[in-house]
Each structure stands twice: as C-alpha cells, then as structure tokens.
C-alpha cells in the first residue's frame, strides 16, 4: 500500500464500510467485490439501491457489472491509462475542484503536465474502452458528490501497482473527495488481518504503527521499552527478496509462520526448490502445506476459532476474537510459541501470560492503537484507528482537515503497461481471479466438502471465440504454458471473459496459476505481477 502512503501519508482505507452507503458515486476498479469481499458487496448494493451510481472497471464481466451505471471492460494491466485519462478529461473539461486542490494539495502543475501523455486516442486503443465511455466515467465521477473509489488486488498486483494506486489518489484529490463522508480511496484488503499485520510492523521497514526503523528516536524508544540494545536501523528484506537471498545461500535460517509461499508466490516451482536450501527452516502452522514439508521443525499453532486476541479489518476497525472451541492436541497460540523461542534464546521482554498482555504493550508503544485497550474491547467497542487515548472515539474518516503527510501530493505518472506482453510464442494474456467459494490457497476453505462441491478444481476460463480458435470445447483438457512453467486443467468456455484472455486461480496445488505467473515486482510495494502474464494454450 505504498502508493497511498505517498499521496496521503497513510496506506489504509480512508473511509469505512458503513460510509459507502453515504456515497453517491462509487468507482469500483480492480475489485470483484461480491466474490472476494461479499459483505462489502452488500454495502455497495445498498448504496446503489439508495440511488448511488456505480462505475465498474474490470477485465472480466463480474457480477457487479449487472447493476453498474457504467461498465468499462478494459484489457488486463491497462488500468493506469484509464485512470490517468479520466483525470485528464476532468482537468480539460474544468471539472476539477480547484478550491480544494489549491487549499489542500501540492505538485498540481507537474501532475497536470504529465496528463498530456494520456490523450484519448492512445488510451482507448490501449485499454479497449471507447472514448465516449471514458469521458462518461470521468464526468460521472467528478460531477457526483460525494464519490468513493474502491479497489483491490486487480490494481495492486501489477509490476506498476504503486503507480495505479497513485493515479487513483490523484483522481480523488482532483475532485476534493478525500476527507469527506461518502468519499475517499478505499483498498479492500485480502486476508482477514492484512491490515493488522501491517499495523503491527510485520514489515521490513516499520515498527508497529508505521514507526520507521530508520528513525534514531524510534529505535531508542523501542530499545528503552523492550530493555534491549542494538536494534537495527537498516531496512530489512521483503518476502521476494528473502527468497532470492535464500536461493543465493545468504539467508540460512527461516522462521515461517502461517504462510505458504510455495503456493502463493509467483513461479512456485522455483520457490519450492529455494526452501530446500535452508540450513534451519522452522515452520509454524495449523496444517502441513506445500512449504512446511521442507521444514526441519514444525510447530502446531491454534486456529482462529481457538484463539483470543484481536483482528483489524480492512476498515481499520479493531475487533476482539473470543475462544469458540478448545484447540486440538498440543496446539498453542502463535504468540506463545514465538515468545517461548525468544526466552530460550535468552531474549528479555517476552514474559506474557495472555494475549491481553501483548495488547497492553501494543497500546504503550503504538500511538494509533494507544486507546484500543483490552478493557475497551471487552466492553463491546470496536473502534477505528487512529485512536490515541481510551476516551478517543476512534477515527472513521482519515485526512478530514489535513493529510497525514500535511498536503495531498499529486503524483505525475508516465504510462507503464504489463511487464510481459503477449507475443507470437505466448499469444494470450493470463490473469488470475478468485472464486467466491475458496479462499487464498484453500488450506482452510478446501477442507469443506460443500465449498469444494461448488468450486473444487482449477478451470481454465476462455471466451467462446478463443475456444473456437483453439479448437477447444467446454470441459476439454488444456495445457497452459508460460516462460516459467506449465499447468494442465479442464477448460471452461464462458462469455464472461474477453477474447484472447485466459483466467485461472491459485486456490489449488493442482494446476496452480502461480506455476505460470511472473515474479516481476512493483519496485515500491514489492508486489508481484499476478494479474498479467503471457501464455500459450493447447488442447491435450
């Protein structure tokens, strides 16, 4: 979420889910909300029922397109061109909120200059969306107040994902839509506690509450509270960088908690080989998975329904988990296991007797969480951070008076397309999608017989015209290959996909889309390009 942090100073959803109902225009781009965040889908639906206009931009004809005022079916990986050209139309037609721009933002001139590159002929050609539709979308978004932007992995999972996000920030600044009810720029986070994991500093560059590791004062504060010395001020490695360094023999020991990179990262064949090179590989999880099988030690953790603690949802809301059932066998809470290892290494400051003890420490060292105490959550409250003290009501809407970084920053952006384009050898574009019935690598959802009955296997989704071109019928076995690998699965012929596009998911070990995807990463966020790569499809 590096983009929003640059534009506004904070990378989280600016508004809340409840707030979507107040919106009069919702621009949903790169999100198949009713499938990936179904209950957020109901918020959008409620807003539409109350008369809000909905603009959907997506390479696939997703269910929300049915009730959208405008549906822009753009080519995968061309979102940036679409967004920037909408900004250009807004500026050219004098629809920008210049009072807001002058009072609250900076760098407008340089940004306006960069818009010149996005003339409608070029953009329409690139995106496959008609000029008229682009103009309509720009006008609808600019002229309906308040207007909210909602996006998800369809925006971020590109080699230029940060630019996509910056572009959306530009659009919202241009129309004065940040810091108001029913407006904002709202990234929907994938996994249940992605927001919380970031907030807690499970990132290489920040402690909890986004306090930079490079800041000397921050370092000293943590050294004092934790009673340690020699905390590093050097930014650490991102996950893809870790994998590279393991491959190169530089990183020799890994502690992997609750993830499965051998299925969820791009080019998984290589990841699996990489993990085997470790001298010490400690995995901690609730199940064996494709990654843990290479571990030297496996530590059994408790599942969410067996835990106490807190999750922070996509709208920055902190909620209390209750223990619903007892854990099986000797499974232990993750925090307990980690703290025990630390203690046995001789580290100080790991004497917690309950998860509430950890939360108290979080309150003490994290200004935005200071008021979100165990006592307050127990009383039934579930506030949005920042919440600096126990009597603070929480902050549903960010940047209401000033931006976290002071002024809103207009980012000039030059056009970048996908890192890998189709060519003669690999003539189709593969994009990844998710099923409503499965979650992530299906370690949890894949154990439900009913969910598997609905969606239990990989399907290679292609349009009727593409099917005809390839001589493939619905249900035929096909082989999809990219420069990195190949996968075989049955074809599903559906008019919901545009010609020349192939859609797969990464839920299952068998024929996983990540056998094919491109590890080219966004230089700022470190997010790989899951959404576009070039492939070849053959009937087998």
């Amino acid at each position: 979420m590096a983009g929003l942090a640059k534009t506004f100073g904070s990378g989280a959803m600016t508004n809340t889910l409840e707030d979507i109902a107040e919106s009069k225009c919702i621009f949903a781009i790169g999100t198949n909300t009713t499938q990936t965040h179904p209950v957020t889908g109901t918020r959008i639906r409620r807003a539409v029922m109350n008369g809000a206009r909905l603009i959907v931009a997506n390479p696939l004809e997703i269910p929300m397109a049915k009730y959208a005022s405008l549906f822009l079916q753009l080519r995968p990986g061309t979102d940036l061109a679409l967004i920037m050209s909408m900004a250009r139309v807004i500026v050219d037609e004098g629809l920008a909120d210049m009072t807001y721009v002058k009072a609250r933002c900076e760098n407008f001139a340089a940004f306006a200059e960069s818009l010149k590159a996005y003339d409608l002929d070029f953009v329409s050609e690139t995106t496959g969306v008609s000029q008229e539709k682009i103009r309509d979308a720009a006008r609808m978004y600019a002229e309906t107040d308040p207007a909210a932007i909602i996006y998800s992995m369809g925006i971020t999972q590109h080699s230029h994902g940060t630019d996509n996000v910056l572009a959306l920030g530009n659009l919202a600044l241009l129309t004065g839509n940040v810091g108001i009810r029913g407006g904002g720029v709202n990234p929907l986070r994938g996994q249940n506690n992605v927001q919380g994991a970031c907030d807690m500093g499970a990132l290489p560059n920040v402690y909890s509450g986004y306090q930079p590791v490079t800041d000397q004062q921050v370092k000293e504060k943590f050294e004092q509270v934790w009673g340690v010395s020699g905390l590093s001020t050097e930014v650490g490695l991102t996950l893809p960088q870790m994998l590279q360094k393991i491959d190169a023999g530089k990183i020799k020991a890994l502690y992997l908690i609750g993830e499965n990179p051998a299925l969820s990262e791009p080019n998984i064949k290589h990841v699996t080989e990489t993990l085997k090179k470790l001298e010490l590989f400690v995995a901690q999880d609730i199940f064996q998975n494709e990654s843990t099988v290479s571990a030297h030690f496996i530590l059994p953790a408790q599942a969410a329904m067996e835990k106490e603690g807190t999750f922070t949802s996509t709208e920055r809301r902190v909620q209390l988990l209750n223990r619903v059932v007892e854990p099986p066998g000797e499974a232990r809470p993750d925090w307990w296991i980690t703290a025990e290892i630390a203690k046995r290494m001789g580290a100080k400051g790991f004497n917690y007797s309950a998860s509430a003890d950890v939360l108290k420490e979080i309150n003490a060292v994290t200004p935005s969480y200071a008021g979100i105490t165990p006592k307050r959550l127990k009383s039934g409250d579930a506030p949005h951070w920042p919440c600096p003290s126990e009597d603070h009501p929480g902050t549903p809407i960010l940047h209401t008076r000033t931006f976290t970084r002071g002024k809103g920053f207009f980012a000039p952006i030059s056009y970048k397309g996908p890192a890998e384009l189709p060519d003669e050898a690999f003539p189709f574009v593969l994009t990844t999608d998710r099923s409503l019935f499965q979650f992530h690598t299906a370690t949890m959802s894949g154990r439900s017989a009913a969910l598997n009955e609905m969606w239990g296997r990989q399907r290679v989704r292609i349009s009727p015209a593409t099917a005809k071109e390839l001589g493939v019928a619905d249900g035929d076995m096909v082989k999809v290959s990219s420069r990195r690998g190949e996968a075989q699965a049955r074809a599903m012929v559906t008019p919901k996909v545009v010609d020349k596009i192939v859609v797969m998911d990464f839920h299952f070990a068998e024929a996983n889309a990540n056998l094919l995807t491109n590890p080219a990463c966004d230089p700022m966020s470190g997010i790989p390009e899951f959404k576009v790569c070039a492939v070849r499809v053959q009937k087998v």
Binding site: H37, R46, A197, D199, F297, R332, F350, L436
Partner: protein
C-alpha cells in the same frame, strides 16, 4: 436393598431396585422420547417410541416396560433405534388427521414436539436440493417475497425472483433454473429471513447449543459470526445482527466454511522434527530448545521471519519483536500483497 448399576450410552448410573430402563435413562439425564407413557399410569408399550438397544438382547425392547438390571449396557441413540422410532412415529402421524394450524393444541402439543425431535426434516414434496447448503420447498412458501427482496435489495444477486406460473406470481428462479446457475452467492440471507419452512439449511442451527460470537477468519471485511457449539465442536455459524462490519450479513465461506477445517483430522497436534525425511513428534520443551539453539547460531543478516496476515495482532506484534529484539534483524514480512 442393594442399588442396581448399569450404563446408559457408556455412562454409569445407579438406580433403586424395581426401576425401569426409562427411569435409569432419566436418572442419567438421557432423553428418551415417549408418548403413551405417563408417570401416574402403568406402562402400556403402545407407542413403541421409547425403544432402546440392550447389549446381549436381540430386538429393540421398550424402555418403559423393561426392568433395569445390574450390569446392563443400554444404548438409546443408535442408528437402528433412530430409524425404528421414525417409522413408529410415521405410522402415528399418518393416522393423525388435520392441520396443526387448525388444532386447539397447536404449539402446545407433545406430538408436535416429538415430531420435531425425531423426524428427519421432510424433504419429499418439492424440495430443491440443487446445492449443498440449503433446500427450497415451495409447497411451504407463502409468497411473502422476503427472500426475493433480500436477494435483490441487499445482496444484489437477483437469484430468486417472482415468476409467473399460471398467471400467478410465484417465488422461484428464472426459468426454474437450479440455483448454481442463477448467480446465487449462497450467502444464506434468504434462509435467514424466510418466515416458514420453505427455505431451510441442510445443516440446521442446533437448538440449545452453546453460542459464542467471534470474528470470521477469512477475508478482511471482519464479519462477526455467532457460532453454535455442541460437544466442543462448531456445528453452525450465522451472522451477528449486531456485528458492526456486517450488520447481520455473511458469505458462504464464513457461514459454511469454518467448522470443517477447525476440526479437521489433518490438524497439526504435536511439534514435529524432520528425521531422515520423516516427521516425528517431539515434546514442546525439546522442540523449543532445539529451535532456539538453532537460531542462536546465525548472524542477523542470515535469518528472516515471515509472519502471517491470518494471525492476530498480538501474534504479529510478538513475531516482529522476535525478529528485531531477538534476531536483531528487520527482515520480517508477510503476504501483505495477497
């Protein structure tokens, strides 16, 4: 006189001489359905609903008329017993005329209560079982349209609609298509609002279960769900109307996808060490000591930690503190991108 000791469903129970098997079950807190039995009257063995299985005896004796004996092993809920009871009650119901709704004893009727306990939910009639989550039995539909409006107004799916059948509006799907072909999300919101038995969950929400609210572990919406727990196992989940993020809504994964993985036999239940390619259980103490010893050998730039977006805030906080304070590295990350 000496008390009699016997077991009911494996639990020991003591009763006085002259007690029946039914008395013993009552003493053990085990429910056996009865209809002809009344405590003031002599046993009649008429309705045959109270049958049980007794180890070593053939047939299914009526518990109301069988004296308890020392060392008896009684089973009250075997599949054979259940099937027999359903048949016996089926015959009674077939000979019982009239509609409940027109009966003065409606809602205060032992037969009704027993039928709810014993009988499988009626699925003959029109019930559509085109999906593994819920069934639709439009003979029980009163055309109130709650499900249609829920599906349209809140879910935006438009999977169930009013269609015209013989000039009358009837709830159903377009062209009577199976639900999976209609864009249904299987969120169950329509079942929640159905006032009759027209829409029912295939795994019903058990009555009398312990109910505990917590947060869904799947996506970032953070729906609060109410879990029904029986014998320490999650039997059903439904959205909490007071959940601030979800306002009484949920999706197919939260509602139907949590119990099975939580209670999966594949769960890791002991620390494991890889020995010659085979994972062998070891004690926590040994595992933790060896892991700690292992990590101590490496320099800060030789180690890394990958945390998880599925863990709690507290878990993640301790993980990053471990990386920074114990391993002295900032190389900690998680799959924030996914």
């Amino acid at each position: 006189m000496k008390d009699i000791s016997l077991t009911i469903n494996g639990c020991d129970v003591k009763v006085r001489q002259g007690a029946t098997v039914l008395d013993a079950a009552k003493a053990a807190g085990v429910f056996i359905p009865t209809l002809c039995h009344h405590p003031d009257l002599k046993p009649a063995g008429q309705c045959r609903l109270c049958v049980v299985e007794i180890e070593g005896s053939r047939g299914l004796p009526e518990s109301c008329a069988t004296p308890a004996e020392d060392g008896m092993r009684v089973m009250t809920d075997t599949p054979r017993v259940k099937e027999f009871r359903q048949q016996a009650l089926g015959i009674i119901l077939d000979n019982h005329a009239g509609k409940c709704i027109e009966c003065p004893a409606n809602l205060d009727c032992e037969l009704q209560t027993l039928a709810a306990e014993i009988m499988p939910i009626e699925t003959k009639q029109l019930a559509e079982t085109d999906n593994p989550f819920f069934r639709r039995d439009y003979l029980r539909c009163v055309q109130c349209g709650r499900c249609v409006r829920m599906c349209h107004e809140i879910r935006g799916a438009g999977a169930v609609i009013f269609r015209e059948v013989d000039g009358e509006p009837r709830v159903g799907t377009a062209f009577n298509l199976p639900l999976p072909e209609t864009g249904c999300q299987f969120c169950g919101a329509c079942v929640d609002v159905c006032p009759t038995g027209a829409l029912t969950f295939i795994q019903p929400i058990p009555k009398g279960a312990q109910e505990i609210a917590s947060i869904c572990p799947y996506c970032g919406v953070g729906c609060r769900l109410i879990f029904s727990v029986v014998d320490g196992r999650i039997k059903a989940a439904r959205p909490d109307p007071a959940g601030p993020a979800n306002l009484g809504q949920a999706c197919v994964k939260g509602r139907f996808g949590i119990g099975e993985y939580t209670h999966s036999p594949d769960r890791l239940v002991a620390p494991l060490i890889a020995k010659d390619g085979v994972f062998t259980p070891i004690s926590w103490d040994e595992a933790l000591n060896r892991v700690a010893e292992g990590f101590r050998k490496y320099q800060p730039d030789e180690v890394a930690v990958i945390a998880s977006a599925k863990m709690t805030n507290e878990d993640n906080f301790v993980a990053q503190k471990f990386a920074r304070a114990a391993l002295k590295t900032n190389s900690i990350d998680h799959c924030a991108r996914l």
